[in-house]
Amino acid sequence: MLEVNGLSVAYGQSEVVHDLSFAVGTGEIVALMGRNGMGKTTTFKALMGILGIRSGSVRVNGQELSASAPHQRVRSGLAYVPQGRMIFPNLTVRENIMTGLQTRACAIPQDVFTLFPVLLEMSQRRGGNLSGGQQQQLAIARALTTNPSVLLLDEPTEGIQPSIIKDLARVLKEIRTLRGLTIVVSEQVLSFALAVADRLLVIERGQIVDEVTAMSGAAERVSRYLSV
């Protein structure tokens, strides 16, 4: 499980995430909803240790990670699918997946190719030559290879065709069931969030301003935060 307490993050002097606290239970999927510029990416980068934090604590399965380097956080069970996917463009698909392997053994977990058969077909292609949807699958596969207990996905639907978005929702739920993963996904697309998440958190200007369980009525309540 993931516990975030009093997280504040700043770029230089300007603080953009203020005293953020939330917890996500084992096997739970939570969507962090918010418009552009509200602090979703900043929050995720801080959780991964890519950005330094002003204050606060980040715990995965009870282990405090706020002072660790990104690669140590990965070893403690945190995995990250960044906004824009950040595939290694000159590595093949297979090599991209293998970068996530922690052990010296070269075995990619079987379920990765079961979940994303297209990656097996394309395993010798260069990552940079894949389509957006394929790159998204690759980024998830790469994250899963680190054998995480908490998976962070930053706007996974951005720039992806609607037909593939549906698949993505299904696959994320399948992963959760297969691996008992904790998943946090940031989103602007409400229909996708409602399809995957058990609970929706709304972030505005770096603060969590609302929390809804995904039931009837949730759509209306959250959509007013997302309209401009």
Partner: protein, 307 residues
């Protein structure tokens, strides 16, 4: 040049070509190290030549020790010297990374200045340790002499040996880069350092190993260098400019480019040097490179991938 028959002309070309090969080998090994370090962490290592010098002095030391204390070892010492040159340069490179380089990542200008300072310090260190006079390793007998495939053409054995050594090492580096776990981590870090960390790669450790490896390869270049020249405190620094040329000309991203560019620069200098003065040859090569780079700013080879 008058009175040269076509046959003689051909023989000169071939022999100068083989002389160029030793130079090509040293240049290639230097450039390989420089290129993987620059590609990995954006650090331009001006002290790279001094790591060649370390390898050369290591070879000299071993040769001197064998000659004075273990003459029976003379035929074999050179092979050990290659390993020792690598190990010494690797170790010093590792320390350098820890103490200096890791503070300079992605700061090409600062790293240029700092490593230039380091180069001067190392040169002074060599001067204090080994004296200002040049020293020469005594080559084992099997490296002397030459091979005469046809009359009129003499191919020095040391050149052949250095050639084989270079090919082996280059192949080794290629295999390491494209087949090993470290190589994968290195390539991932080169392409996206932040993301590499976020998939669990300890990028600092990869950097340290890469830097040390690049220096180690320069150390082997130093061992090879002793077969074609004598070693002084500034021997390595004489190579640094040509090595830069090779890397820039070949395109910093491509190993194949590095090989092709080291080959053409070494061969062009060597062959031209026979027909004109050394500095004229250098000027001609430099001018040619400038013209080619004006047409292909990314170097001879570039990665053909969408970004």
């Amino acid at each position: 040049m008058e009175g040269l028959t076509l046959e003689e002309f051909g023989a000169i070309l071939v022999m100068q070509g083989f002389n160029g090969l030793s130079y090509f080998c040293v240049l290639l090994l230097m450039a390989l190290g420089l290129a993987i370090i620059f590609g990995q962490m954006g650090v331009i290592n001006m002290a790279h030549g001094e790591f060649l010098t370390i390898g050369a002095y290591a070879t000299f030391l071993l040769s001197w020790l064998s000659e004075h204390y273990a003459p029976w070892f003379m035929p074999y010492y050179f092979l050990l010297a290659v390993l020792l040159g690598f190990a010494a340069a690797f170790a010093v490179g590792h320390l350098t990374e820890l103490a200096l380089i890791r503070h300079l990542y992605r700061r090409p200008l600062d790293s240029l200045l700092a490593t230039w300072g380091l180069a001067l310090i190392m040169q002074q260190g060599f001067r204090s340790l080994f004296g200002a006079r040049e020293v020469s390793a005594t080559l084992p007998d099997w490296l002397l002499g030459s091979w005469q495939p046809v009359s009129g053409i003499d191919i020095p054995l040391n050149g052949l040996f250095v050639m084989a050594l270079t090919m082996l090492l280059t192949a080794g580096v290629l295999i390491l880069t494209y087949r090993s776990r470290w190589g994968l981590q290195m390539r991932a870090t080169t392409q996206n350092r932040v993301m590499a960390g976020a998939v669990g790669i300890d990028t600092q450790q990869v950097d340290r190993f890469t830097f040390a490896l690049g220096c180690g390869i320069a150390g082997v270049a130093g061992a090879a260098f002793t077969t074609i020249g004598s070693t002084g405190p500034t021997s390595g620094s004489l190579y640094i400019v040509d090595t830069f040329l090779v890397v820039v000309f070949g395109g910093a991203q491509s190993m194949l480019g590095t090989v092709a560019s080291a080959f053409s620069i070494a061969q062009a200098s060597s062959i031209l040097e026979f027909f004109m003065t050394g500095s004229m040859a250098k000027v001609s090569v430099l001018l040619t490179i400038i013209v080619i780079l004006m047409m292909r700013p990314e170097g001879l080879f570039r990665a053909n991938v969408r970004r």
